[in-house]
């Protein structure tokens, strides 16, 4: 028996056999490339930023001082508290707006809308996700800025409110899509059973569907947070880019990502400022990695059930 297979294999050293081999290697390379790239990026960012961590970084100052003055001639300081506060406040505000909106949209699309309405809404939500971030930033800069000045009678409209609104609108589509998938994954049997017990439509959604889809909904929100944390261009343009501990929604703020984007271009490769910016990169990488990993684990949680 085995000899037959062996000779058969030997006979099969033709084009098809080789193609099979090559495709196998290509698919394998494609499969692990994502891992290779992400490790490569991590290694690069760490290598560029680590000099600062080892040599110049004052850990206490780094995390507790709001003074970011890396180019000072007299005494450079590298405090990122104001930048952290900026990123956190913009992302937090964005979530405050986008979570109710996108969960509402997902429930409507998933549970109520039917036929054409449903399809049209889905396409529109996906189109919203396709708007480039620089266009969002442009809207913040040239439409929302004068609007906020007029409506709220404040000195300047480039602020946390502006950036948060823009970011909320940017994060909403991805959250809606994932949340809707999570709702759809709830078996129809649950709904039918609940309805058979005499539950109203709302009771079915609130008491049965949402608890069953909980993990997926949490994952949707976490991915939205990750999106908010990493967004750069729109935030750079709409936030005012001002080193400031925010006290209200009308205060201009500055995000970590925007700081890297604005300053890296003109630094001399390898000097302290350059390395400090890469250290910000390591921090951002770590935070988004943790957020995405958590979201992934939460999603895996549903599959296991």
């Amino acid at each position: 028996m085995s000899t037959v297979i062996d000779s058969g294999d030997a006979d099969r050293l033709d084009a098809a056999w080789w193609i099979d081999r090559i495709v196998k290697v290509l698919v394998f390379a494609g499969g692990i490339s994502a891992i290779v790239f992400i490790l490569g990026i991590f290694a690069f960012v760490t290598k560029e930023g680590f000099g600062f961590v080892l040599k110049d970084m004052d850990v206490v100052e780094f995390f507790t001082s709001p003074n970011w003055r890396p180019t000072s001639d007299t005494k450079p300081t590298h405090g990122i508290l104001a930048l952290l506060a900026g990123t956190a406040s913009i992302t937090g505000f964005a979530m405050l707006i986008s979570v109710p909106f996108s969960l509402g949209a997902a429930i409507y699309i998933g549970e109520f809308a039917t036929g054409k309405t449903r399809e049209t809404l889905k396409v529109l939500v996906e189109m919203l996700a396709a708007i480039p971030s620089v266009v969002w930033g442009f809207i913040g800069l040239s439409i929302m800025n004068p609007l906020i000045i007029d409506l709220f009678d404040v000195p300047v409209g480039l602020c946390m409110l502006n950036a948060g609104l823009i970011l909320g609108l940017m994060a909403a589509p991805i959250m809606t899509t994932i949340a809707e998938d999570a709702l759809k994954a709830v078996p129809d049997g649950y709904r039918e059973a609940a309805e058979a017990m005499g539950a109203t439509r709302w009771q079915v959604i609130w008491k049965v569907v949402i608890p069953a889809a909980k993990n997926g909904l949490v994952a949707a929100v976490l991915l939205g947070v990750g999106r908010g944390f990493g967004e750069t261009m729109a935030v750079l343009m709409a936030s005012g880019h001002s080193i400031n501990m925010p006290e209200g929604v009308f205060d201009p703020v500055r995000a970590l990502t925007a700081t890297i984007a604005a300053e890296l271009g003109e630094t001399v490769a390898g000097d302290t400022h350059y390395q400090a910016l890469f250290t910000l990169g390591i921090l951002l990488f770590a935070v988004t990695f943790v957020i995405n990993l958590t979201a992934d684990l939460v999603v895996r949680g549903i599959r296991k059930k």
Binding site: T71, T74, P155, V156, H241, S242, I243, R254, A262
Partner: protein, 303 residues
């Protein structure tokens, strides 16, 4: 008839061949001798540098100048690494940078190629008539106490509570560094909390749309939609309006030099190019781009 046509056609094609051959030889000869100069740096200077490079093609076709922007810092690091012939900057090289260049066996030599007046911009409805260095320092500087327009004795229509919105630049721009040195003085620092724009034009655009705003940017970016404020060095000194003319005669107090750095004393093609930039023709081009030339070029429409 037919013969004539044929003969003409043959003659034309023959001459074409001859021309083509001749042209080809010339081009080959030119290519062999062609010198390529690398020119990189300041975004303030990049438009002028490009205009120079283009015009110079007519002056000396055997020299090509490749211009790239990226900022003063980018130009300087390229000079330190020895990858450019000329670095454009809107600030002097720091001692640390010169030291680094020397370690690589490069002696940077500074050449002033023009001046840029740093204008102070406010909203067009702002009634302010002039501003002094001390007032600017109190608005922008660390420890400065001026937070509202009322403190300067003026009321700006549309500015909520008279609050001054400070517009500044990102901390590694040459403009940021020069304004700091000139107005906030040597050990001065900016007060944090200004809106840090990422380009000369962005500053002017934001000031244009914000009633309570004040900003600084190159004079070349002035529009009719914003107001330029005359600046006085001291309380007693006359306030001078930023114009190309006041930048040329140095009466405007915040005019900064624009530099080109070479690797060692310029020689050969680099020297000829720099001489041409400082000549009447080269200086007319920088004037046309809205900057002040090193010397006033001989031209009738200047004042």
């Amino acid at each position: 008839m037919r013969n004539i046509a044929l003969a003409t056609a043959m003659a034309v094609s023959l001459s074409l061949v001859a021309c083509g051959g001749g042209g080809g030889d010339d081009a080959d000869g030119g290519r062999a001798q062609r010198t390529l100069l690398q020119n990189k740096g300041s975004d303030t200077l990049v438009n002028v540098a490009q205009a120079w490079a283009e015009a110079y093609r007519e002056v000396d076709p055997s020299v090509a100048v490749a211009v790239t922007g990226g900022g003063s810092g980018t130009g300087i690091s390229a000079l330190i690494n020895g990858t450019v012939d000329l670095a454009n900057t809107s600030r002097s090289m720091k001692d640390k940078e010169i030291e680094k260049a020397r370690q690589n066996g490069i002696e940077p030599v500074e050449h002033i190629v023009g001046y840029d007046a740093l204008a102070v911009y406010v909203h067009k409805d702002n009634p302010i008539e002039s501003i002094t260095f001390a007032q600017l320092a109190a608005i922008y500087g660390e420890g400065g106490t001026t937070k509202t327009w009322d403190q300067l004795g003026i009321t700006v229509p549309g500015a909520k509570d008279g609050k001054i919105v400070r517009v500044s630049r990102q901390n590694n721009s040459g403009t940021y560094a020069y304004f700091k040195k000139a107005v906030l003085r040597k050990d001065g620092e900016y007060k944090l909390g200004s809106l840090d724009m990422h380009g000369s034009k962005d500053v002017v655009d934001l000031v244009m749309k914000t009633p309570g705003a004040i900003g600084y940017s190159g004079l070349a970016y002035a529009t009719h939609e914003v107001k330029l404020v005359p600046v006085a060095r001291d309380d007693g000194a006359p306030a001078v309006m930023p114009t190309v003319a006041t930048a040329i005669d140095r009466s405007y107090p915040i005019a900064r030099p624009l530099f080109m750095y070479t690797r060692g004393q310029p020689e050969g093609a680099v020297a000829t190019y720099l001489d041409w930039i400082l000549s009447n023709d080269g200086q007319t081009i920088i004037l046309d781009k809205g900057y002040a030339p090193v010397r006033a070029p001989v031209r009738d429409d200047l004042r």
